[in-house]
Amino acid sequence: MITEKTITDFVYREADLLDTMQWQAWLDLFHPEGRYWMPLEWQQQDPVLQPSLMYEDLLLLKVRVERLAGERTFSQKPKSRCHHLLQAPQIIACDPEAGLFKARTSYIYTETRGDMLERYSGWASHDLVRVGDDLKIKLKRVDLVNFDAPFGNIQLFM
């Protein structure tokens, strides 16, 4: 039985996997047709014909994860680390009949590398689907409050 708490726990666990750099376990949270989306416009509707910072399928996410561990990935020498500070997720939908599970979570995200530390704020929206007994990510959408500002490298995942 999937309850609101199942969804909330899922969102917390996902952030925890990122913070502890358990990349493979994080990828395993995605549905095979899942997407990770970082829009570049306010309340953006279209990830394909409007510009985004990221709109990646599982293959591209795997490339990122594998790259992070690469011997010749010089932008990861030293390695980046990240920290998610989440507000309690707001449940947008929890409808097992319709298979709709959605949450929206306000966050502060920190990414560090060497002596650098950058902090970002925004909202993460999770569209989840049930696969067997588990929830999987159909779409993780990350809206930065200042999506239109120029950033330096963002190498990990919000």
Partner: protein, 446 residues
């Protein structure tokens, strides 16, 4: 450290035949002189006319560090002026783009200006009677930039009133813009979204040089493009259709021989491009319906000529790069000696299938975004160079690959695609436009 101000000789001495002194990247005074001389003497990209569709539309930009704005006047003409009120200096426009209506109004004291920049009204105007205001520069309204050229909707401006003409400055290099425009079946491009913005903690010239550096992709991008190719082969095998994403990443891993035969073309005044014979953009899948549209618009022969021109990166000196084949323009905006804002614009080919725009947007976020793994590879190299150049062990940067003694500057030539000659070409232009308006007789007399 030399004193470079008003010292054309010292500035010219930073550029040798095949080496440049590290001060061009790290010296704050050199950066200041670039802002005062190099950028004002050059033709700099301001924006695209499609961003000024209606009278009253405006955009803001910087030339070097100086805030400027462009507007569409009531009569349809485009004007560029400094973005500051003639009264107290307040910026008139604070947004990247917008619509001002019939006039601009300064938010501080309500001085207003027509959309060609001329002074329209000042509240309580009688306070200026008998003050000689008519002779003040403020009475002219927004200070106008005289040298503005709109070339096939690309707006360029030159701050120096007496600089090299637009035609002489760009010459044949405009052919890349021509090709990008002609890739639209209607011969028209449109900016329909904001650019991707990416802050770089390095000197702006490192980015420009990297555009024609063909010996770095297979090394620096092994981590990104190389991993993409590896993961694709493992996950999907080679038998199925290659997705758009892998088509975009894959060619970065091409071997040296590929880039050698692709060639580089250089032009006078520091312009040049990679990908003469072919390029990393050569082997993208056809997009359904597009070729037929192009043939209908241009005829069989011309359509194939246009689409057969797949130039890789074209540098428009000093700080712009254009990719005609994927409709991208990257603007390397100098902020400080070690800080550069990169704005990467995508143009929509008017009348062409959506899929082309989709691919251009995908390319832009794969390569030019702060979340781009290819971008991460490059920025890491620039940052390390910015740090490494503080070393006094060797004060020169080497640009000697395929240098030939006595090679002429300011010429058009096609050369081996792994040559660093375009970088040498840029630095020749750099020394020229840094000093072209300096009075060299003073140095000679000293």
């Amino acid at each position: 450290m030399a004193n470079y101000r008003n010292n054309a000789f010292a500035i010219e001495a930073l550029v040798r035949q095949a080496e440049v002194h590290r001060d061009v990247y790290v010296d704050p005074e050199i950066f200041e002189i670039e802002m005062e001389h190099l950028f004002p003497n050059s033709w700099v990209y301001v924006g695209h006319a499609s961003q000024l569709a209606k009278p009253g539309d405006f955009i803001t930009a910087t030339i070097g560090r100086q805030p400027v704005m462009a507007s569409r006047h009531t009569d349809g003409t485009i004007h560029v002026f400094y973005n500051r009120c003639p009264h107290k200096g307040v910026k008139i426009a604070s947004e990247p783009c917008g619509h001002t209506g019939k006039f601009f109004r300064c938010p501080y004291h309500a001085w207003s200006f027509k959309t060609d920049g001329s002074l329209l009204a000042i509240p309580l105007k009688k306070g200026y009677e008998g003050t000689g205001f008519g002779d003040a520069q403020a009475n002219e309204g927004l200070s106008k930039i005289k040298n503005v050229v709109v070339y096939r909707d690309f707006i360029f401006a030159q701050l120096n009133d007496n600089g090299v003409s637009f035609e002489d400055y760009f010459g044949e290099s405009l052919s890349t813009i021509d090709n990008m425009v002609e890739r639209s079946p209607e011969g028209k491009l449109a900016v329909v979204a904001a650019p991707i913005r990416y802050m770089h903690t390095c000197n702006w010239k490192m980015l420009v040089e990297n555009q024609t550096d063909t010996c770095h992709p297979m090394v620096a991008h092994e981590s990104s493009a190389g991993t993409a190719v590896k993961v694709w082969k493992r996950e999907q095998g080679d038998g199925t259709e290659t997705p758009m994403a892998v088509q975009l990443y894959g060619p970065f891993m091409s071997p040296y021989e590929f880039y050698e035969q692709s060639g580089i073309r250089i032009w006078p005044n520091g312009h040049g491009h990679t990908g003469v014979a072919n390029s990393i953009h050569s082997n993208y899948s056809d997009i359904e319906g597009y070729l037929a549209q192009m043939v209908a618009a241009y005829g069989e022969k011309r359509a194939h000529e246009i689409l057969g021109e797949v130039r890789h990166n074209t540098v428009y000196f000093p700080n712009v790069m254009v990719k005609g084949a994927v409709q991208i323009l990257r603007n390397f905006i100098p902020i400080a000696v070690d800080k550069t804002l990169v704005e990467s614009w995508v143009y929509r080919l008017v009348g062409a299938p959506d899929k082309l725009y989709e691919r251009a947007l995908m390319y832009n976020r794969f390569i030019n975004a702060p979340t781009s793994i290819v971008g991460h590879d490059d920025l890491e190299m620039y940052e390390r160079a910015q740090e490494g150049l503080k070393s006094n062990g060797n004060q020169w940067v080497n640009l000697q690959r395929l240098y030939e003694a006595g090679e002429p500057a300011d010429v058009t030539a096609v050369i081996n695609g792994t040559s660093e000659r375009q970088m040498r070409n840029q630095f020749h232009a750099w020394a020229k436009f840094m000093t072209i308006d300096m009075d060299k007789r003073i140095e000679a007399a000293e």
